[in-house]
Structures are given as C-alpha cells and as structure tokens.
C-alpha cells in the first residue's frame, strides 16, 4: 500500500469517525450553581471540571460537554432539556 493511499484512507476514517457532540449553551436564567451541579451529577465530572465547563458556558456562550455516538448525544440532550438547560446535538 502506498503512502498516498494510507493518507487518503485515514482521511476517510476520520470523516466517518468524526464524533457527535452535546453542546450546552449559555442562557440568562440558569444559575451557575445549578449548571455546575447538573454537570457534576449527570456527567460525573469532578467539582473542578464541572465548575470549569460551567464557566466556559458562562463566558464563551457554549461548551461541549460530551462526544460520541449520535444516539448517546441525543440521550444527553434530552436529559439536559429535562434539567431545563439549553442543549443541542451537532457534529464536532
């Protein structure tokens, strides 16, 4: 197999493997304490990691909180919606 072929194959693989992500968006309603608590208890993040991602949502307007198969991301988004957080599914 030629070098060129290997490069081409890896590009195809990365396209197929490109994971889906769960994104949580900033909103003016949800409390910072609540968002950090949801991230920690639902996703199993440490307190520090949950705080870091909550602050990312707060300051940057959004944060990726999970990546993986589409079905799993849809389950996460549905769970976030039950918590009242604004979450979407997209391709990374």
């Amino acid at each position: 197999m030629s070098q060129t072929q290997e490069v081409a194959d890896s590009r195809v693989d990365s396209e197929l493997d490109r994971p889906w992500v769960t994104i949580v968006w900033n909103d003016p309603v949800n409390l910072m304490s609540y968002v950090a608590w949801v991230f920690r208890t639902y996703f199993g993040f440490s307190r520090d990691e949950a705080e870091r991602r909550m602050l990312q949502v707060h300051h940057e307007g959004r944060a990726v909180v999970a990546s993986g198969p589409r079905e799993a991301m849809e389950r996460h988004v549905e769970a976030m919606h039950e918590y009242g957080l604004w979450a979407t599914v997209s391709r990374e």
Binding site: D27, P28, V29, N30, L31, S33, Y34, W37, R40, T41, E74, V77, E78, H81, E82, Y83, G84, W86, A87, T88, V89, S90
Partner: protein, 157 residues
C-alpha cells in the same frame, strides 16, 4: 421562608402560606402549559428546545422519539411541587428525599424559564422596560429558593 438545608440526604425548607400558594400556583400553571404543548406559546421553545436548530428533519425525528416522555416528566416534576402545598398546616415544612429534591430543582428551573419569557429578560438577565415588578420579585425569589436547594443537594454528595 427558611431556605433549604440538608441533613442525612433529606432537604428541608419552610414556606409561609403566601409563598407556598404562589409557588404551587405557578407550578400548576407550568404543568398545564407543558401538557398543552405544542401551542404557539413562546415559553415552550425554551422548555422544550430544539436539539437540532439547523436541521428540521432531524429535529422532527428527535421530537417524535423524545417529546411525549419529556413533556410527561416535566409536567410530573411540576406537580410534585403542587402536591407539596396541598391541604395542611402553615407555615409548611417541605421535606424532600433526594429523588424529589432533583424533581423540584428541575421544576423550579422550568417555572423560572417561563417567568423569564413573560418578563422578556434579555441575554444578560435584565427585564424589559415596564416589566411586571411583582413578577420580577417572584422570579428573583425563586432563584434564591432554587439556589438554596442546589447548595443543599451539592453538600450531600
């Protein structure tokens, strides 16, 4: 009100009759709003947001698969608050096992999302000019109720 505090996994707070009556009324209205979905009410867009804002077909499929269960759970969460303020003595001590405390935290969020829509809060959380002062006071008070509950839950684990 005496804000939520936790002991041995149980979250407890005390509400006056005025506070409990307002909270139960709002929770009941939110349950009805959710159960009547879909309607043109803009607050529903925030209670049941789009998972795929840029892909109508994927969004329709997501809603088909999840919508019924999610609306039923949200309405049930709100009714847990309604039931806490049924017949009984005032001031009311509310005692929540962990599972009900989580349902309260979710329902308080949904109530605040609906009030934020009614108050037309901007992206910084500031109300529109001429916003209903009484509603704004209730919204801010509910933020404090929820914060105390989250901190009580957070202290437990």
């Amino acid at each position: 009100m005496i804000p939520f505090a936790s002991t041995g996994g149980v979250c407890t707070a005390i509400f006056t009759q005025d506070e409990g009556t307002i909270l139960a009324s709002l929770a009941g209205q939110v349950a009805e709003l959710i159960e009547q979905a879909p309607t043109g009410d803009p607050a529903l867009g925030r209670l049941l947001p789009h998972a795929y804002p840029d892909d109508p077909a994927a969004q329709a499929e997501f809603r088909r698969l999840t919508g019924g269960d999610l609306t039923a759970r949200k309405a049930a969460n709100a009714r847990v608050i309604v039931e806490a303020f049924g017949a009984g003595h005032w001031p009311r001590e509310v005692v929540l096992e962990p599972s009900d405390a989580v349902r309260w935290a979710r329902a308080l969020t949904d109530i605040r999302l609906v009030l934020a829509d009614r108050l037309d809060l901007d992206d910084d959380g500031m109300p529109a000019d001429g916003a209903d002062e009484a509603m704004l006071a209730v919204y801010n008070w509910l933020g404090g109720v929820q914060d105390s509950l989250v901190r009580a839950l957070d202290a437990e684990d």
